[in-house]
Symmetry: none
Subunit: 194 residues, 4 copies
DNA sequence: GATGAATGAGTGTTCATTCAT
DNA sequence: CATGAATGAACACTCATTCAT
C-alpha cells in the first residue's frame, strides 16, 4: 500500500473513531456531519473528501468491528468443547461492545446488523458461529435436531437481544454477565441428549 | 363515554394506525409529521389537534399494544403448566406484531421498550410475566435458581431479540415459529430439576 | 339598548378585560386567540362570534381606556390654574395605566396610540389637552410662543415616553412619580414669561 | 483583521442593513427570516450561517447604532456649555435615526432600549449623558436638585418618546426639529437658578 | 488536500380563521 | 348562541451536500 493511501486510511479511521465516540450519546441519525467534523477537528469539506455520503461512515464502522473481532477474539477460540468456544465468542462480542476503554461505543449494538452481509461478503461473526456449531454437532456436543444455520440464527438473535436491551437501558447493567447467563441457558438447552 | 369523546378516541386511533402502517417501511424518527398526515388524509393542523407533540404518537401506540395484549392474549393463559402459558404469551405478542392483516405493523418491535414503564405504570407484559414465573416456581415447574425478576428480564430480552431481528429482516420469515423455537429452548433450560 | 344588545356588550367587555389581564405578561402579537379563549373560559367559536378579527380586540381595548378617562379623570379637572389641570390629566392617565387593581394592564401603554384618531374620531385625551392648553394661553398662564396643537403634541410625546419606558422596564418603578417630575419640568418650561 | 474575517463582517453588516431597511415598514417580530433573506438576496441557510438565531440580528443592529454614535456624534461634543452638548447629542441621535439617506431605518427607535445594557456593558449613549450632566452640574450650568442618574433617565425617556412617536407617525414630520424643541424645553427647565 | 460559505428542501410546530353541528 | 374540529400557510431553524478558492 502506498504511503499516501495509508495516510488516507488512517485519516478515515480517525473520523470513524470520533463518530463512534459521539454515538455513545447520540444515535447516528441524530448526529450531524458538522457535529462529527467539529469533534474530529476537521472541516466539512474534508469529511466529504474521505466519505462520499454520511452513511458511508456506517460501513466503515462495521468493518472496524469485524476487524476487532477477527484480531482479538477469534484467536482465543481453541477449546475442545465447542460450547465453551461459543460462549467465549459471545463474551468477546459483548466485551467489545461494553468495551474496556470503549465504554462510549456501546451504541454499536443498536446499529450492528451483525449477521447480515456487508458489501456482499458475509460478516465474520456469522461465519465463525456456523463453523463452531458445525464442529460441535460433529463432535456430538450439540444437539443435531436443528441445522447449524438455524442454530446460528437463533444464537445471533439472542445475542442481539442482549445488546439492544443493554443499549436501551443505557448500559445500566453488566452486559458481560447477562450475556453469560442468557447464552449459557441457551447452550444448556442445546446439549446433545443420548 | 360521551359520543364526542368516543369520536375523539376513534380519530386518534386512526392516526396511530396510519403511523404504524408507515412504520413498516420507515422508522419513527425518519417519518415526518406531514408524511403521516398525507397518508392519513388529514391536515397537519388536525394532527396537532389530536397530538400535542409528534412523540405523543409513540405513547398512543404503546398504549394500543398494551390494550390489545390485555384484551386478546391474557384471557387465553389458563393452562395448568405455567411454561405453556409463558409460551402462549410470547406467541400472542409475536402474533400481534406479525399481525394477521397487520403485516406492515411489524416495526412496533423496534420501538417497543416493552419491559420498562409507561407514564410510571409498569407495562402489562412485564407484570404478567412476573406473575407466571412466580406461580411456575411455586408449582415446582420452573427452576428456582434465579428470581422471577431475573427470569422475566431474560425472557423479555430474548423476546425483544426475536422481534428486532425479524424487523431488521423486514419481516422476511415466520416470526411465530422462530419465537416458538427460541423461547421454547429457553423454557426447556429452565425446567426444574429434581 | 335592548337586553340582548346589553348582554352582548357585557360579554365583549369581559373578553377584552381578559385580554388586558394577559397582556400584562405577553404582548398582544404573542398572545394567541386560543390563549385568550382559554383564560376567558369561552370557546374559539364564541370569540369569533363577538369579534370578527383578532385585531378587533385592540379597538375595543382603546375604547375602554377612553371611557375610563372620560368618566373618571375629566370630572376632576376643575382647577383655576390650567397647568395644574394638565398635570392632573397626566397623572390620571398614568394612574390608570399603573392602575390600582389594574397592575396587569400596564402594557396598554405600549399599544396606545393615544393621540391619533380611532375610527376617524379624535381621541378624547387629545381633545381635552387642546382645550386645556388653549384656555391656559387665554388666561396668560402658559407661553403663547407655540400653538396649542404643538404643545399638545409635545405633551403627548413626553407622556407616551414615560409610559413606554415604564413598560420596557416592566413596571419596575413608580410611574406616577416619574410622570409628575417629567411633565412638571415640561410645564415649568412653558410658564408664560412677562 | 484577516481578509476572511473582514469579508464575514461585511456580509453580516449587509444583512443587518437589509433588515433595518425592511424594519421601516414592518416591526422586527413581524418580519420573517425568509423575508429578510429574499430582500438580501441570500438563502435561508446563509442567514443562519451568519446569525445563529433571528434575535442575533437585533444585537448586531444595536451594536451598529452604538458604533455610529461613538464615531460620528461624540467627537462633536466639545462646547463649553454642557447644555449645548446635551442638545447636540440628542440631535445626533435623532439625525442618525431619521438618517441622511437612511430614511427607512427609522424603526430603530422602536426597538432601541437605548439606556439599558447590551451584553452586560452599558450603552454608550447612557454613559455619555451621565458624563455631560455630571460636568454641567459641576460647572453650575445645570440644576443640582436632581442627581445625574435621574436627569439621564428623564432625558432618555423624553428622547425615546420623540423617537417612538415619530415612528408611530411613520416618520411623517421633522424628527430633528421636534427633538430640538422638546429637549430644548426640558433643558431650559433644568437651568440652574441662583 | 483542505476549507467553509452557500444552498434550499425539509423539519416540527403554531395559529388565525372557518363552519358544520 | 355556542362549540371545537379542521384547515393550511407560515414560521424559525437544521442539515446533507456542493464547489469555488
Amino acid at each position: 500500500m502506498s504511503k499516501v493511501a495509508q495516510k488516507q486510511r488512517k485519516r478515515r479511521a480517525e473520523i470513524i473513531e470520533t463518530a463512534i465516540r459521539l454515538m455513545a450519546d447520540t444515535p447516528f441519525d441524530a448526529l450531524s456531519v458538522s457535529d462529527i467534523c467539529r469533534a474530529a477537528g476537521i472541516s466539512i469539506g474534508s469529511f466529504y473528501h474521505y466519505f462520499s455520503k454520511k452513511s458511508d461512515l456506517l460501513v466503515g464502522l462495521l468493518t472496524l468491528v469485524d476487524d476487532a473481532l477477527r484480531e482479538e477474539v477469534f484467536p482465543l477460540l481453541d477449546r475442545e468443547d465447542e460450547r465453551e468456544n461459543l460462549l467465549l465468542l459471545a463474551r468477546g462480542f459483548a466485551s467489545y461492545i461494553q468495551g474496556n476503554d470503549l465504554e462510549r461505543s456501546r451504541l454499536i449494538a443498536a446499529i450492528e446488523p451483525f449477521d447480515t452481509a456487508l458489501d456482499g461478503r458475509p460478516r465474520p461473526l456469522w461465519t465463525k458461529l456456523m463453523e463452531l456449531f458445525g464442529r460441535g454437532q460433529e463432535k456430538g456436543q450439540i444437539t443435531a435436531s436443528l441445522p447449524p444455520e438455524e442454530l446460528t440464527r437463533l444464537y445471533l438473535i439472542a445475542l442481539r437481544g442482549v445488546s439492544v436491551d443493554w443499549t436501551r437501558h443505557n448500559g445500566g447493567y453488566d452486559l458481560l454477565q447477562t450475556t453469560d447467563v442468557l447464552l449459557g441457558l441457551f447452550l444448556q438447552a442445546l446439549r446433545a441428549r443420548p
